[in-house]
């Protein structure tokens, strides 16, 4: 195992922190109503996932996970662009900064 040869904590710790980050993010998405905060929480979730990917990649000694993490970052960047754009647009129109009130699509 390549991972064993490196110094530092085992893969379980990384996965634990990744799950923790993901959980914080998910909780943020669920309970916060400000779209800006929701976006931030989403980013935290993505980073949690990225951390898990990289940890597993190191532990397996395989570069594929890292490449995947890079791809996730690219997607995250574009998502932030769109999301922040929406937030700015909401702000400009002086709409309520509350995702529960932005419910035009309800049945």
């Amino acid at each position: 195992m390549q991972g064993a040869a490196l110094m530092g904590p085992g893969v379980v710790w990384y996965v634990g922190i990744a799950a923790f980050l993901f959980g914080i993010g998910a909780l943020g998405v669920l309970v916060r109503r400000n779209p800006l905060i929701v976006l931030l929480s989403l980013e935290i979730m993505l980073n949690g996932a990225n951390l898990a990917l990289i940890a597993f990649a190191r532990s397996a000694g395989n570069g594929a996970g890292q490449i995947f993490a890079l791809a996730v970052m690219a997607v995250a960047a574009s998502e932030v662009c769109v999301g922040l754009g929406l937030v700015v647009a909401l702000h400009r129109r002086r709409l309520a900064m509350d995702v529960d009130q932005l419910s035009e699509l309800r049945g």
Partner: protein
């Protein structure tokens, strides 16, 4: 020689397309001449292939393929024309008589609003008919068959502002469609067994098929032939088809299209020889038609309908001949019939033209006084039709009658039928003649007759009439069965007459003598009844009424097919549509609305509930994966 055949096939099509494309940029008269020229070019092509075939020897039939038209697995059909004795003979008749009739149309249709359309249809018809007779395989024959039906429909309904013409056109199309369907079914059976629609292959396969299959195929073909040739029980459209312009009746419903059935049987004769049942049905149908049509012709009062029933009766003779195996004699009668029947229609056309459209013979008495040449011409055509020596019908009809004598005991039944038919032919033909032509002009004639500067019609009408009069008078001499028979020898390689249908010279003489005698007897009776009026016309009210209603065929079909179909349709309308289908629509809609109202509560529009559901779903899936593993 094949070049001639292709020229013959393509010229009328080119004519029709040219008239269509030029539209109103050319005068109506130019359109008429384009059509006439195209048909005469086709005639030149037919003569070319005839001469070519003669110099090669008639046994060398040639199939010339332009390209492979359909290619599906092992089944190939080429776009090909067949040049053999049978097809060249038909090409000559179709384009020759057709050209004369199109020329005649120039005078007859002069002044009609839609002359261009008429001449485009005429060219299209000639093309279709040539396709039918020249088609190098059965599929092309079927293509021609269908196209002929189409152009016949278009021409019968040419005067589309007349409801009766439109109804007649529809009737003709539907009756023919029945025949087309049985023919297509026969082709399917043939394809299933021989994997080919080439003539030679299907004839070769016919030998190894079970007799049921061959009979089935032959009966299917016979269905098509009977519909196109107006044989009982598919004949009801022909009298109604007289709603079309008279040259159309002459060309399509006398000279060419209605004889396509006879051509088909002669062409497919190897199949019919393997299927004796179907051949017998052909002969029985022909015999029945010739008698029934002749009796109905006795009471009709429309000049064209009398001739139409006479056409049915004469085609009955041809079917009878083809059914007993005398193919060459049938084809011979087809040829002479094309001459004298086209002539009769043209004569009727001249009369109708001179009387400004009147067709009722009861009003026409004594028109011979003002139209003496038409009278003579009509007399010659009538004599040819009855089969009086030395006119054309004598030679061709009597050879068919004689051919029935050797076929066995039922041959004698046919023989008696055919002889009875000649008597009736004499009677109805000369009933028409004596009512319309001799004597003093009736009041109606005096009032309505208008002549063309001393002539009896425009020259474009008189020239074809003259040519056909000559042909009707002497055209039969080409073959005198007992002495010389160039036509039979010419057709030998394509449609060999069965040995059984070759009568001895004595039988020929007996038949001819009796037929001639009975024909003259018919004429004499007609003279006594209608000419000299020395005898009162016998009245049998019930018979008369039945015949005037054409033996109730239309009423029977109405009761058998039309009434049940409409009753069934209205039952479906009341019981199924009103009760089930119409309420079903609103029910479906309200039902869907109710369900969607219930389901749409799930769409809260609140982002966080969606996320929660996604998270819960993922959690459930994760648990499932972990546990199930």
């Amino acid at each position: 020689m094949t070049a001639g055949a292709w020229l013959c096939l393509c010229a009328p099509l080119a004519g029709a397309l040219l008239i269509t494309l030029l539209g109103t940029t050319v005068s109506r008269r130019t359109a008429a001449w384009i059509s006439t020229t195209s048909v005469f070019i086709a005639f030149a092509g037919a003569v070319w292939s005839f001469l070519g075939l003669r110099s090669h020897g008639s046994e060398h039939g040639v199939v010339s393929t332009a390209w492979t038209w359909l290619d599906s697995g092992g089944f190939k059909v080429g776009l090909s024309v067949l040049v053999d004795p049978l097809s060249t003979m038909m090409m000559l008749i179709v384009t020759g008589v057709g050209g004369l009739i199109v020329l005649y149309s120039i005078g007859y249709m002069d002044g009609d609003e839609e002359e261009r359309r008429y001449f485009a249809y005429m060219s299209l018809f000639v093309f279709s008919m040539l396709m039918l007779v020249q088609g190098g395989n059965l599929l092309l024959l079927l293509v021609g068959w269908g196209l002929v039906g189409l152009s016949s429909y278009l021409l019968i309904g040419f005067w589309h502002e007349k409801p009766s013409a439109v109804a007649a056109a529809k009737k003709a199309f539907v009756m023919n469609a029945v025949g087309d369907a049985t023919m297509a079914l026969a082709f399917f059976v043939l394809i299933a067994h021989s994997r080919s629609l080439e003539f030679a292959t299907s004839f070769a396969t016919a030998g190894h098929l079970s007799s049921t299959t061959v009979n089935l195929v032959a009966l299917g073909l016979l269905g098509g032939a009977a519909a196109k040739s107006a044989q009982i029980p598919l004949h009801t459209w022909l009298p109604d088809a007289m709603e079309g312009p008279t040259p159309v009746s002459a060309l399509i419903h006398a000279a060419t299209m209605v004889t396509a059935g006879v051509y088909l049987i002669a062409r497919m004769h190897p199949l019919f020889e393997q299927a004796p049942t179907a051949a017998d049905v052909t002969a029985i149908g022909g015999g029945a038609t010739l008698l029934i049509a002749a009796t109905i012709a006795l009471v009709q009062t429309d000049i064209k309908r009398v001739i139409a029933y006479s056409t049915m009766s004469q085609i009955g003779y041809m079917f009878l001949g083809a059914g007993v195996g005398a193919y060459a004699n049938s084809m011979f009668h087809l040829m002479t019939h094309a001459f004298f029947k086209a002539l009769l229609f043209m004569g009727a056309g001249l009369v109708i033209h001179a009387l400004a459209g009147e067709q009722d013979i009861r009003k026409m008495g004594g028109i011979g006084k003002v139209m003496p040449r038409t009278k003579w011409m009509f007399l010659i055509a009538s004599l040819a039709l009855v089969g009086i020596f030395p006119f054309a019908g004598f030679f061709s009809k009597d050879s068919i009658i004689a051919a029935t004598m050797n076929v066995g005991w039922y041959g004698w039944v046919f023989w008696v039928c055919a002889l009875l038919g000649t008597f009736l032919t004499g009677l109805y033909t000369f009933r028409l003649y004596f009512i319309v032509f001799p004597g003093e002009p009736s009041a109606f004639v005096q009032e309505h007759h208008h002549d063309h500067h001393g002539l009896e019609g425009p020259w474009t009408m008189l020239i074809p009439v003259g040519v056909l009069t000559v042909l009707a008078a002497i055209g039969g001499w080409i073959q005198f069965s007992a002495y010389w028979h160039p036509l039979t020898s010419w057709l030998e390689p394509a449609a060999r007459t069965l040995g059984i249908a070759e009568p001895s010279t004595t039988q020929e003489w007996i038949s001819s003598g009796l037929a001639l005698g009975l024909g003259i007897a018919g004429i004499a009776l007609a003279y006594l009844l209608y000419g000299a009026r020395q005898l009162a016309v016998p009245r049998f009210a019930a018979v008369q009424r039945a015949l005037e209603h054409k033996l109730y065929f239309d009423e029977a079909y109405d009761a058998l097919f039309y009434k049940p179909a409409t009753a069934f349709a209205s039952w479906l309308g009341h019981e199924v549509e009103d009760q089930m289908i119409l309420p079903a629509g609103p029910d479906l809609a309200t039902g869907a609305l109710d369900r969607s109202r219930a389901v749409r509560r799930l769409q809260t529009g609140i982002l966080r509930t969606y996320v929660l559901f996604i998270g819960m779903g993922t959690a459930v899936l994760a648990v499932v994966f972990l546990v199930v593993r």
